[in-house]
């Protein structure tokens, strides 16, 4: 894979030399980050539409914050400071599945339960960070919280590609069934959809994606990239096709601009913050369009 990444980066550099791409792409780490963005954008864009339809924005935020705890546990257990994937994946998957399991077996409303889980996870993470901060410098901590393109390694890209392949295949094959099980579980069951299995599968997908994207977008902000592009797309879409394709487009462009613009113009902001600000600007523009132009006023 390293050869493939090198070839893609060489392509970026060539285009940058001809002035067709920003000069920041001469840097290897920017090339890695752009490759990651080209994977993350479509991935989060597609899954984000399901998160919005299934009203699981708060749930994905809880998973994002759990990633912070997972990172802390990983560092405490001796994993690499820069890539504590085993602990992060393990903790987040357990966290997500336990949360979903509890949701299905309690009379508490979903937002209350997620709020409780989110707070517990954040409290554990914040407490562990005190111990962890002694083993790493502040910049590494900032990278975990808000993302950084400086640290995207070939290992990160490999993990991201593997997660993306799983999510595109599973998410694509089960897309309709995942939507249907949220429209009407009874109807989905009648049509032979294993609703509970599908719900747990979706939780797993969200968890995998969240952890794989923490490096670029940051634990605090990764949930926003699942929700904001899809919310922006919803503002101006008139069919499910437009909804998904606009969402993918907004997420991908936000990732690319959020990575390249700060580098190109020496703006000292973390990549996660820049990406989310670009996505938020799409939301603001589409919300304005929806309210100002009758053609976009598609639903009330």
């Amino acid at each position: 894979m390293n050869t493939l990444y090198a070839a893609i980066r060489a392509g970026f550099e060539g285009l940058a030399n001809w002035g067709l791409l920003p000069s920041a792409l001469h840097f290897q780490f920017v090339g890695n980050a752009v490759i990651a963005a080209l994977v993350i954008g479509p991935l989060l864009g597609m899954l984000g539409t399901m998160v919005v339809v299934k009203r699981m924005a708060f749930f994905s935020q809880a998973i994002g914050n759990a990633a912070l705890t997972g990172v802390s546990i990983g560092v405490l257990l001796g994993e690499s400071n820069s890539s504590p994937y085993v602990s992060t994946f393990a903790f987040c998957i357990i966290f997500g599945l336990v949360l979903r399991y509890t949701q299905q077996r309690t009379s508490l409303s979903s937002d209350v339960l997620i709020g409780v889980f989110l707070s517990i996870s954040l409290a554990i993470g914040a407490s562990l960070l005190l111990f962890v901060s002694a083993r790493m410098n502040t910049h590494v901590l900032e990278n975990i919280l808000f993302g950084s393109i400086l640290t995207v390694s070939p290992l990160d890209l490999n993990i991201l590609l593997a997660v993306a392949a799983i999510c595109f295949v599973v998410g694509g094959v089960f897309y309709n069934r995942m939507l249907l099980s949220s429209f009407s579980p009874s109807l989905a069951e009648a049509r032979g959809v294993p609703v509970r299995l599908i719900e747990y599968t979706f939780v797993l997908l969200i968890t995998l994606v969240t952890v794989a994207c923490v490096k670029i977008v940051g634990a605090v902000l990764v949930e926003a990239l699942l929700v904001i592009p899809a919310a922006a797309a919803r503002n101006v879409s008139r069919s499910i096709r437009e909804f998904v394709f606009y969402s993918v487009g907004f997420a991908t462009v936000a990732c690319l601009l959020g990575i390249i613009v700060p580098m190109q113009y020496n703006v000292p902001v973390p990549s996660g913050g820049a990406i989310i600000l670009v996505a938020a600007s799409f939301f603001a523009i589409t919300a304005l369009l929806r309210n100002l132009l009758p053609a976009f006023r598609v639903a009330t």
Binding site: L179, S239, I240
Partner: protein
């Protein structure tokens, strides 16, 4: 070929420590239209959810006569945010095809879907957003999808409660045709006059069975009201 017969045997459902259904036993013959009536909160929808495997229950619910029957279900409504950009065709695609709906409609079953939309009077609204449909139009769509593909067992939950008279009559006619073609129909229904028009048998449920039999004799509006009171 007739659809499955349904056998409910000593079905008990409790939720949160409250008994919703108690010792419910009755049969629905293959290919007949059977209505379940009863007051609000009487457990009708819970009975349907138990049949669909969505509510845990004690007792037995058996489908006999057809191996792996195709089940069509028309719910009262969809838990779908009305502002989402899903057209009528998108909703049908989500329900009827494996190809992700955002990649467009599958050619498999497209003609049947178009014909069904024409039949229920929604062909000119196929590109309209689901959230823009009236309550009655939404119920027409939910009824239409339940007939795609042709079901062995059709389960309807108050499917005409928001429809105008013309829509309700159309559904009654289509249910009759489905039954003639062999489909077993189980219809949760509040409209007792409609029950008398369409059903061969009916069961009145309010936690337990109040009465069961031919609708005109055992579920006449007056006698049912007296039992409910």
């Amino acid at each position: 070929m007739p659809g499955p017969a349904i056998r409910f045997r000593n079905v008990n459902v409790s939720l949160g420590g409250h008994s919703i259904l108690s010792d419910v036993s009755f049969d629905v013959a293959a290919g007949e239209v059977h209505c379940i009536v009863g007051p609000n909160g009487g457990g009708k929808t819970t009975l349907v959810r138990a049949l669909l495997g969505q509510a845990p229950f004690d007792g037995k619910i058996e489908l006999e006569g057809v191996a792996n029957p195709v089940i069509g279900y028309a719910p009262q409504s969809l838990d779908l945010d009305r502002t989402l950009p899903f057209t009528v065709l998108d909703v049908l695609a989500v329900m009827n095809q494996r190809r992700p709906a955002f990649l467009g409609r599958s050619t498999v079953g497209m003609a049947e879907q178009d014909a069904m939309l024409r039949r229920v009077g929604l062909e000119k609204k196929s590109k309209r957003l689901f959230g823009f449909l009236s309550g009655g139009e939404r119920q027409r769509l939910l009824f239409a999808q339940a007939l795609l593909p042709r079901p062995d067992l059709l389960i309807m939950d108050e499917s005409t409660s928001n429809m105008d008279d013309e829509g309700a009559r159309l559904v009654e006619k289509m249910v009759g045709e489905a039954s003639d073609a062999g489909t077993t129909v189980l219809w949760v229904n509040h409209d007792l006059e409609q029950v008398c028009r369409v059903a061969r048998t009916a069961t009145a449920v309010s936690r337990r069975i109040l009465s069961h039999g031919a609708p005109r004799t055992t579920l006449a509006v007056r006698s049912f009201s007296e039992q409910r009171a």
